[in-house]
């Protein structure tokens, strides 16, 4: 867990400067603040703007999904920390094309409170209509009866994709919000962590795991999971994750899309080993997989581990999932 960086305090501004310099055709900053990332073609007249935000250290989450068919803007915080109200407000204002703005982000206290204040400000000062949808799909973080308390993890990408596709069709704010909620109602995630990561300014691991240990259900900032066990095989891990997901949402006899996501250091090779077994498991419940996503979609820097996200599909979700999308981190051409 060694890092390539300069002064840790400049980690985020430096990476954002590099990122803006790398993708000037697709991204720009708003309000003269590199923490406010918006599409280069923002604002888009008549299109609902979709804004997310959250801490750094999760690339491609969050700002990596700012792009065509996806999000319009992202407020970027320090590593694992919320962006400020001003940043959220500035992004909201910069992407507003007259059709309102959807705040779509993970259920983390700081973000929730700051986005609420930013929405108030955008409404008060600029008459921008703002709706909010929280991503809260990590089944390990709270039982079903407290589902609203859950944290948001990789499932947010399905919400970004579905809402983004709907917004691109120039749907109304209510329709885009409904699309995001529809996606999330059908989305569940759960992960496993094998080793921690280091927040640059802190310089030591956020948690510790013994040499032969893993933690099922751990969150992307090292929030504790449901069980700490000896390191298990890929097949056993997949069994447990899918069992927990299926216990929360019935997937039998359904078509789903699945995301097998590395938390950072876990290589793609191992994700495919997991996917292989996921298919074996799904066979017994007559669950079929459409368009699997296998890779690094929501990370915690160099954390070792993986998460599985499923979204149960219907005709509308499938249609929207298939729309093209394009960001520097997520290219989605028409399928087949």
């Amino acid at each position: 867990m060694k890092k390539i960086l300069n002064n840790p305090e400049n980690y985020v501004p430096e990476l954002l400067e590099g990122l803006l310099a790398a993708h000037p055709d697709r991204l720009k900053s708003a309000a003269g603040d590199v923490h406010c990332i918006v599409r280069a073609d923002s604002p888009i007249e008549g299109k609902v703007g979709i804004v997310t935000g959250g801490g750094s250290g999760h690339l491609p989450v969050f700002l990596g999904y700012v792009g065509r068919g996806l999000l319009d803007g992202c407020a970027v915080g320090d590593v694992f920390a919320s962006p400020t109200i001003d940043q959220m407000y500035n992004v909201t204002k910069a992407v507003h094309g007259g059709a309102g703005v959807l705040h779509l982000f993970g259920n983390y206290g700081g973000d929730v409170m700051n986005f609420a204040a930013a929405a108030d400000q955008a409404n008060m000062e600029d008459d921008i209509q703002v709706e909010t949808v929280l991503v809260a799909e990590d089944v390990a973080s709270a039982p079903p009866d407290k589902a609203a308390n859950r944290r948001g993890v990789a499932g947010m990408i399905y919400a970004f994709k579905i809402a983004g596709a709907r917004a691109e069709e120039k749907a109304s704010l209510a329709e885009v919000k409904a699309a995001a909620e529809h996606a999330l109602a059908n989305t569940r995630s759960m992960g496993v962590a094998l080793t921690p990561c280091i927040v640059p300014q802190v310089g030591k691991p956020t948690f510790t795991l013994g040499e032969g240990e893993m933690e099922i259900g751990m969150g992307i900032h090292g929030e504790p999971g449901t069980a700490r066990t000896p390191l298990q095989t890929a097949d056993d891990i997949v069994d447990q994750l899918i069992e927990k997901l299926m216990g929360d949402m019935d997937l039998s006899n359904s078509e789903i899309t699945i995301m097998i996501n590395s938390l950072g250091a876990t290589p793609l090779e191992e994700l495919y080993i997991m996917y292989r077994h996921a298919l074996e498991v799904f066979k017994s419940s007559n669950t079929t997989v459409y368009r699997p996503y296998i890779g690094r979609f929501a990370t915690s820097m160099e954390m070792t581990g993986a998460s599985i996200t499923v979204m149960k599909l219907d005709a509308e979700l499938k249609r929207l999932l298939d729309q093209p999308a394009n960001s520097p981190f997520f290219e989605h051409t028409q399928y087949a």
Binding site: S82, T84, G110, M113, R151, Q201, E223
Partner: protein, 219 residues
């Protein structure tokens, strides 16, 4: 002699609180690591360092306590935009609004400002008493201070001490509670037995204020 704090004393007191909180950052990090993500020390460090910058330019606010506190809150929230930062920032800003235009505050004004801050904090955070949050320290502190207001020969120190002690008692009480909101709620039953870090931070702030105010009362 009625309890009173002047603009200059407030600047001085906040400076003392800031120093004390920055010195407590490791303890708060440890508490937050047990229940949450272990960043509370950093939040407090950054937030109160930012407040000290505001205090350094205290001349710019026309001796208006409201403006000073509002700016301090905004600065805190911007510097440390976490849950605690957002909430404490809101508390300072709204509490400041209750003191707008005043160059000094008496005991009632202090308690009213705190109550306004608490209301704002509950509105913003949507937590209830007993959810195991900073509210569980701040609420009893305000109640204890309100009770003190009718006491004879009340000093600023005595007023703040009553709040600090009640806050500390409230913070200790959180050990028996299960977190119902925020990051710590993801711990479920495992949250029982740990002190809520935000509650402890409130108790530390009030304790530092009470300790610092002794210099005024002695003068």
């Amino acid at each position: 002699m009625a309890v009173k704090i002047t603009y200059v004393q407030t600047v001085d007191l906040l400076g003392g609180v800031a120093d004390a909180m920055i010195a407590s950052k490791d303890e708060l990090t440890t508490l937050d690591a047990a229940l949450g993500d272990g960043d509370l020390g950093r939040t407090v460090d950054r937030g109160f360092t930012a407040i000290k910058t505001t205090l350094a330019s205290a001349d710019e606010f026309d001796s208006d306590l409201g403006k000073l506190l509002f700016k301090a809150g905004k600065t805190f929230a911007d510097a440390a935009a976490s849950s605690f930062g957002a909430l404490l920032g809101t508390a300072f800003m709204k509490g400041g609004m209750a003191l707008k235009g005043s160059a000094e505050a008496d005991g009632l004004a202090i308690v009213t400002a705190l109550q306004t801050a608490l209301d704002a904090l509950m509105e913003r955070g949507k937590a209830k008493l007993g959810d195991k949050t900073m509210l569980d320290a701040l609420y009893p502190a305000i109640e204890a201070m309100r009770t003190q207001l009718s006491a004879d020969d009340l000093t600023l120190t005595a007023l703040l001490r009553a709040g600090a002690d009640a806050a500390e008692a409230g913070a200790q009480q959180t050990q028996n509670m299960q977190s119902q909101i925020g990051r710590a709620s993801w711990q479920g039953e495992r949250s029982v037995g740990h002190i809520d870090p935000g509650a402890r931070a409130v108790a530390l702030m009030l304790d530092a204020a009470a300790r610092h105010s002794q210099t005024f009362d002695a003068a």
